[in-house]
């Protein structure tokens, strides 16, 4: 009996430091972005916490799929309500001589999904899946 207690204590000691998380509580967030039914590739998806804190961002892949990253090695976003911006804009890059180095990407997503966003989602602990079906016709 005493020996069991000793072994249990030893096991507990050996696992010191293995548990307990550093940093704030995050919820994993993934989903798909479509524009008029077509998957939207190369779009930046940004979740801004309404209560303040660090924005979590991701870029959509060819299938329009994204997975948010909070910081290096930390997937997800802060818990709570977020306001969401989705945009494709990338600025045109000119060289010092005025030549076009990179033509950039125009904004395909209407302002109601980025600069004047109405999109809001609440992130909970664990896995969160949000699909955004954007409409550029109205």
């Amino acid at each position: 009996m005493k020996r069991n207690a000793f072994l249990l204590g030893l096991a507990l000691l050996l696992t010191t430091g293995c548990f307990g998380s550093s940093g704030p509580q995050l919820g994993k967030v993934h989903g798909t972005v479509t524009l008029d039914g077509q998957p939207l590739a190369g779009a930046t998806v940004a979740f801004d916490p309404v209560a303040g804190g660090r924005t979590s961002e991701a870029t959509t892949d060819a299938e329009g799929h994204f997975q948010l990253q909070f910081a290096a090695g930390a997937e997800g976003a802060l818990l709570g309500e977020h306001s969401i911006r989705i945009h494709t804009f990338q600025a045109r890059v000119l060289t010092d001589n005025g030549k076009v180095q990179d033509p950039g990407v125009p904004e395909k997503v209407p302002a109601k999904y980025n600069d004047e966003t109405e999109l809001k989602r609440t992130i909970e602990r664990g896995e969160n899946n949000f699909d955004f079906d954007l409409d550029s016709t109205q």
Binding site: G53, R54, A58, A72, G73, V93, Q101
Partner: protein
């Protein structure tokens, strides 16, 4: 039968187990202490850079530009990227970090950057660089193989071919703007001087203790290449471009601290210190900012991180 003197096997095992547990507890702590020591030296390097910037200001009545093009060539507009080497802030403050001999040898500001590197002896000095510009925590190699600089007649625009050479890596980048890297109308601490823009103490209207001057950039973070910075010289300066000059000596606040989810994260601040990065403020103080700092990445200046980068937003912040 008398019990023989000595330890039983069980006693020995118990002693070994206890010693093992103690070592297991101690080892991670030792590694933490080593990183703490490296971070302290890194912070001291930034402090020295801060003193050098102040001394530069005493002499020049302004802070150094992030990078400086050769004026004659700017006017003639024949300084394409990949051909022109530009002097950066880390070269201008050399005399104030006791590196006057390096400053004189390279002929900082007198010769164009790529012409200075055209000479074998000067190239050797630029490869050796100055140790105070390297953070001991950084995993970067001595020579920056990912951000090359033009030498002699130069190379292609992204400076990836044989016309460009590797010089000493730097871990420190100046703070340029609270949003994208800007050539004109930047709102941070340093930028290109050829637009006639410069910063002195009077223009840091948020107060020197509320404005970031210089920060860190990692070589690699969580397997994602951020490519650190170069000492002394950078490539020509296409605006807001990862591969060309402006992103070498300067960083901007569009990209979150320690971000690794976007190819352009190598234009922001980052470090391998766990949980954040060290920043030098304009008043010469060095602070560790956590990566969880309030930071909204949209185009308006509306979060603590952006307030700290921008020198004139009217929002001095004290709790960061």
């Amino acid at each position: 039968m008398a019990r023989s003197k000595g330890f039983t096997l069980v006693e020995l095992l118990v002693v070994i187990a206890i010693i093992g547990v103690l070592i297991a507890l101690l080892l991670p702590a030792v590694q933490q202490a080593r990183e703490a020591a490296r971070r302290m030296q890194c912070s001291n390097n930034l402090k020295q850079i801060g003193l050098a910037l102040h001394n530069y200001h005493d002499v020049a009545k302004r802070f150094p530009p992030a990078l400086q093009l050769d004026r004659a060539r700017v006017l003639a507009s024949n300084c394409p990227e990949g051909k022109c080497g530009t002097w950066t802030w880390s070269a201008f403050i050399l005399p104030f970090v006791e590196q006057s001999n390096l400053y004189d040898q390279l002929q900082v500001g007198k010769l164009a950057g790529e012409l200075s590197l055209g000479d074998a002896d000067r190239l050797k000095s630029a490869e050796a660089g100055f140790d105070g510009y390297r953070c001991p925590s950084s995993t970067a190699p001595e020579l920056n193989s990912e951000r090359k600089v033009p030498a002699g007649s130069g190379g292609n625009t992204d400076c990836t071919d044989a016309g460009c050479l590797q010089i000493a890596t730097s871990s420190y980048v100046g703070s340029n703007d609270s949003y994208n890297l800007e050539r004109a109308n930047w709102d941070g601490f340093m930028g290109r001087d050829s637009e006639g823009q410069y910063v002195n103490f009077a223009r840091v209207t948020d107060g020197s203790s509320n404005t970031i001057a210089v920060g860190e950039r990692a070589w690699m973070l969580a397997g994602f290449s951020l490519r650190a910075s170069t000492q002394l010289i950078a490539n020509g300066d296409t605006e807001d471009h990862s591969r060309q000059g402006y992103s070498y000596p300067a960083a901007a606040g569009r990209w979150p601290l320690n971000c690794t989810n976007n190819a352009a994260c190598d234009r922001g601040f980052s470090s391998t210190h766990p949980g954040g990065a060290l920043f030098l403020f304009v008043d010469g103080s060095v602070h560790f900012l956590a990566e969880t700092i309030d930071h909204n990445t949209n185009s308006t200046t509306n979060s603590t991180y952006e307030y700290l980068i921008r020198r004139d937003d009217g929002n001095p912040v004290s709790n960061f």
